[in-house]
């Protein structure tokens, strides 16, 4: 099947600063793609290029097979929702919703039906005659989504649409967007900072860094099998623990930590047979403690330096072999600094990266 949005060799420079470099991305029909990355990595820039609000320096953008690289934003079949809502302040909600349709010279009754339908879907019918200033943040963002909805577009673009909302509203609206996607079944490209949003909404996540896509895959793979150290470090909170160590294969794959050999039996190698200096990464939630640790083939004793009780679990700060180490223990365990704890590693859940290109082994 033809991709819904296809980005080929996209480059964009602001003067001498190169913001997007040779970016390739294919987004399938009806896919929900989340662009995730640290601030300034070019997410909004990419979205603006797709929308036609920025002109790329090189490369091309195709939507439904049409080359739209140089088309007007309104001719691309896209709708866009912004972080600051960007509602036209002097127009009523109804005016905001119908502005795009009027510009397209759509017949009046057609506009009416479409506005009514969108208002119904988003449950903003009672607000139609109000000005944006008289709406709450969540209502405003609903209207902003409605503005894309009425235009019956193929591709929805969201640029951090929930960042200005408080935590509760954010969760509500996140579910609504998910539901909207299930009903409409159109392509959505969604920029966010928020890992939870990314994980819960996305069919696939694209992790960006410095204008390049570091990994593009399903949330599951991104979390469990990060393709490189950057992604491994970026995803997850608190982030992954990394041990600077050596991978040997002579007696079966193993790494050495704090003078003990940790066997990697059960690790799913992407590049079997590679050895040498590596980063051995393990997420705080994948460090075995308590009875589980006792069952692990290799065990370590560490001292708790700091404990952060978070209710269901407690985050323990510690160190091992000169490396800072964070791990989670059951919330019922009372931990005071100085306590000795037994831990172990489950190799199947670890991630190993070479130290040259920092790619997954």
């Amino acid at each position: 099947m033809q991709p819904s949005v296809s980005i080929q060799n996209l480059k964009l420079d602001f003067g001498s600063v190169s913001v997007l470099r040779d970016l390739n991305l294919d987004i399938g029909q009806g896919e929900f793609l989340v662009l995730l990355g640290s601030s300034g990595c070019g997410k909004s820039t990419l979205l603006n290029c797709i929308a036609g609000l920025l002109e790329p320096t090189e490369g091309s953008i195709h939507i439904n097979g049409n080359n739209v690289t140089w088309s007007e934003p309104s001719d691309r079949g896209i709708g866009m929702v912004f972080q600051s809502y960007a509602l036209y302040p002097q127009m009523t909600v109804e005016g905001n919703l119908s502005f795009g349709l009027k510009n397209a010279r759509m017949p009046k009754d057609e506009i009416k039906t479409r506005v009514a339908r969108a208002a119904e879907v988003l449950q903003i019918e009672p607000l139609l005659k109000r000005k944006p200033a008289a709406l709450s943040g969540g209502q405003r963002q609903r209207v902003a989504i409605g503005r894309a909805l009425v235009r019956d577009v193929d591709v929805f673009l969201f640029d951090e649409p929930l960042s200005n909302l408080d935590a509760k509203l954010r969760a509500d609206l996140r579910v609504e967007i998910k539901r909207l996607h299930q009903t409409l079944e159109n392509t959505m490209i969604y920029v966010t900072h928020d890992q939870v949003e990314a994980m819960t909404l996305a069919d696939r996540i694209a992790i960006m860094k410095g204008g390049v896509v570091m990994q593009l895959d399903t949330p599951d793979v991104i979390y469990n099998k990060p393709a490189n150290k950057y992604v491994a470090d970026f995803i997850g909170s608190p982030s992954m623990n990394f041990f600077d160590t050596v991978l040997t294969t002579a007696d079966g794959p193993q790494v050495s930590i704090a003078g003990k050999d940790v066997s990697l039996a059960g690790y799913d190698f992407t590049r079997p047979g590679v050895s040498g200096d590596v980063w051995f990464g393990i997420r705080p939630e994948h460090i075995l403690t308590g009875e589980m640790a006792g069952a692990a083939p290799t065990q370590f004793e560490v001292r708790a330096e700091l404990a952060e009780p978070m209710g269901a679990e407690t985050l323990v700060w510690s160190s091992l072999d000169g490396t800072a180490l964070r791990f989670r223990v059951d919330g019922q365990m009372k931990i005071t600094p100085g306590d000795a704890l037994l831990i172990g590693f489950d190799p199947a859940r670890a991630s190993i990266f070479d130290k040259v290109e920092e790619l997954r082994i």
């Binding site: 739209v68 140089w70 088309s71 007007e72």
Partner: protein, 297 residues
């Protein structure tokens, strides 16, 4: 859905470019074109009409040998220096007074600023009337019994400039006050709290802390008042007509008279070019301070 190729650079943002045509024409034809035209024709011997006969620096030599021009320059220098100092001092004092959390602040501000809404012509005429020796202030004071009181600056070549200055200050100081007040209010309240805790008296805080902090406002005001001074024309026309004799002539009036009265165009061009040079000398240091300085910190 349209499928279009890369638009040529010329037609990108075409509407915006069309909309900017008036600005482009103004910038190029008027501000650059007309200035260059004047500078070029200042090297000709144009009299009633522009002529292309090249005379090199003759006009400038003649200009700097003309007594009236020299007087105009001197007048402008005296008026300018006094105006600058006094306008800044008075404006700042007014602003500092108004900033003392007084009642009727808006009322006082309205009173100090209203002259700025009036034209220089009105300003000049009213002060001409007030300074009229026969019926004005001098007369009023004499009627009180001070028979020998004398205050007729406009009729004395030695003092006429001060008469103009009084009117000019009356007109402009309110504006300076407004700018200064904005500057004072831009200063963080915590500065005042801090100096109060340190026991520094208010007057000292102004001099040591506040005024240095208001440097940008002072510079802006300085440039504004200066560029106003160089353009000084209407006020003199209305109040003194340049007299008595040549005692209150100013460069802008010299230029106008050369161009439109004496049919000595090239002299006017040369004189106005000199005015431009003067402005450049004001602008460049300012632009340097304002924009050059920022880059370095």
């Amino acid at each position: 859905m349209s499928q279009s190729g890369k638009p040529t650079a010329l037609f990108k943002n075409l509407s915006a470019k069309i909309a900017a045509i008036p600005m482009v024409l103004t910038a190029l034809m008027v501000f650059v074109g007309c200035s260059v035209w004047t500078i070029i024709y200042s090297f000709t011997n144009s009299r009633l009409l522009p002529s292309a006969e090249w005379v090199g620096l003759d006009q400038y030599e003649r200009l700097w040998g003309t007594r009236r021009w020299l007087i105009s320059i001197e007048n402008l220098a005296i008026y300018g220096i006094l105006m600058l100092i006094l306008a800044l001092v008075i404006g700042f004092l007014l602003a500092a007074l108004i900033d003392q959390k007084i009642r009727f602040e808006d009322g006082f501000r309205t009173i100090f600023l209203y002259p700025y809404a009036l034209s220089f012509i009105v300003t000049g005429l009213v002060w001409q009337w007030l300074l009229n020796p026969e019926f004005g202030i001098q007369n009023a004071v004499r009627n009180l019994g001070f028979e020998t009181f004398s205050f007729d600056p406009l009729y004395n070549p030695d003092t006429v400039l001060y008469g103009v200055l009084i009117a000019g200050l009356w007109h402009t100081s309110g504006l300076v006050m407004c700018l200064m007040l904005a500057g004072l209010r831009g200063i963080d309240e915590d500065v005042w709290k801090a100096t109060k805790i340190d026991g520094i008296p208010a007057w000292k805080t102004y001099i040591v802390v506040v005024i240095p902090m208001m440097r940008p406002v002072f510079i802006t005001t300085l440039v504004l008042v200066t560029s106003g001074i160089i353009k000084l024309y209407d006020l003199v026309i209305a109040q003194t007509g340049g007299g008595p004799g040549l005692a209150s002539e100013v460069p802008a009036k010299f230029v106008f008279d050369m161009m439109f009265v004496s049919q000595n165009l090239a002299q006017g061009f040369a004189a106005s070019t000199m005015m431009l040079v003067a402005v450049i000398f004001v602008i460049i240091p300012w632009a340097y301070l304002e924009f050059g300085g920022k880059k370095h910190g």
